[in-house]
Amino acid sequence: MSEDLAYEVLMDHYRNPHNYGSVKDFTHGITEYNPICGDTVHIEMHISNGIIDEIKFMGRGCSISQASASILTETVKGMPAAEAAAITDQDYLLKLGVSLGPAREKCALLSLNAMRKSLSAGGSSDGQ
């Protein structure tokens, strides 16, 4: 995928986010926040038998942070939680396919970090 195309995909996710909203009876929920810029993502997942069978997000922030959250939900839905937790920053940035400066990389990784944190914290119904 060319960089231009990747960027278009990103912008498309920003304009039309996938899986935006709330998961009924979610087992994992987290709100993450970048103190430097204020970008926020809230993620809810339903995991059973170690599989992420449902994941949705809500949030507010720049195009990169929100598009990336949308792409993340697409990526890990149906995946074993352990596999999702093992996605590295680098893997994920490669997947997004656009070269971002270090500051924007933080935006792109916000949702991934949130998901990882939530997975490693174990199940919790506290979505706040």
């Binding site: 909203g21 709330s22 204020g38 809230h42 809500m58 507010r60 720049c62 195009s63 924007r104």
Partner: protein
Amino acid sequence: MLDPIRIRNDFPIFRRMIDGKEIIYLDNAATTQKPYQVVEAIKDYYENFNSNVHRGIYRLSEESTDMYERARKNISEFIGSRDPRSLVFVRNTTEALNLVASSLGKSLASGDEILLTEMEHHSNIVPWQFLKDKGVKVQFARINENGTLSIEDFKSKINQKTKIVSVTHVSNVLGTINDVKELGKIAHENGSLYVVDGAQSVPHMPIDVTDIDCDFFAFSGHKMLGPMGIGGLYGKIDLLENMPPYMGGGDMISSVTKEGATWNSVPHKFEAGTPNVADAVGLSAAVDYLRKIGMDEIRKHEMDLILYALQEEHYIEGLRSFGPKSIHIRAGVYSFNIGDIPAFNLEKEMEQSGVKISRDAIHPHDVASLINGEGISIRSGHHCAMPLMDKLNVQATARASFYLYNTREEVDKFFIGLNDAIMRFRQ
């Protein structure tokens, strides 16, 4: 008239090209660029005089001490102090305000109040909130719709329990210039101590702390062409003399025994450890530079730039800018957004279940990022003023802020770049 083109020649960084483009630096409220005179002063200090001050009786140390104390005198005069002892060297505004809050805080008691405003920088909020542990209350005077301080609200929140009033001279988001002399009168009539955060004023306009009659005044060197790592806290001598010290260590003591210590005289009492002589000397060179250009001239130049920006902004569709429109109470700080993007609130979001943001809105980070592609440096974010963001009901803003080396041409390029960015984003 100040000639920004000639001034730019003194700033080596403007010779740098980024991706083939000249640097248009519009983040001066965050930090400013340095003329070669400042960097040379630091270099000269290290290469010819470097040594520790105050304690040595060999030549280098005597010279170093002399340079340090002359820097103190020069900088204290620049802000209108009549006595160099009133200037304590600190790292930056943040340290200055922490010093004041911590030292004055020691004599506060439960129920005492501190009055701030809604437009304060975190540096002038968090150090006071630390005192909440003691039962001290922190109040915030409201701002008006137009970005000015509500004097009525300020007056209504000051009372006998208000021991300290601390106010920013110029807002780093709105550009609002507060009438700090008038606010000081109200504070003093009320018997409150009066602190002014001058981080955004000293660099941009003539300052006379004696005329303002503030008790304390804080500022940062790096925002006024000086080096990072140095700043000042002005305090009235009699107050400084009666305050407990902040940090303990070398130079700030008169004597130390195993049982306890007594303090050195002002300002040394507040300068623990080896001071940052090189950067004090650098800041003194910055002050010389600013004085030569003339603070009145700098203020006029920035009035012209903000006036121009407030005219040109009308050509940008969907742009909303913040802060007062009258350039007489407005510094060269220009915060804006393209469309409204309110802060995230989970509960509200759940109710509405869906994104309710206008398709035309562009998040300030996207604005800053796109415009960076044109070689233009602006900032986006909460600008360390989150309570103000809450008040404005935005998550963040984009901000361009001007200084003596900026030009109308750059303001033009900024708006052209902004327009292009919007086009590209919406395409």
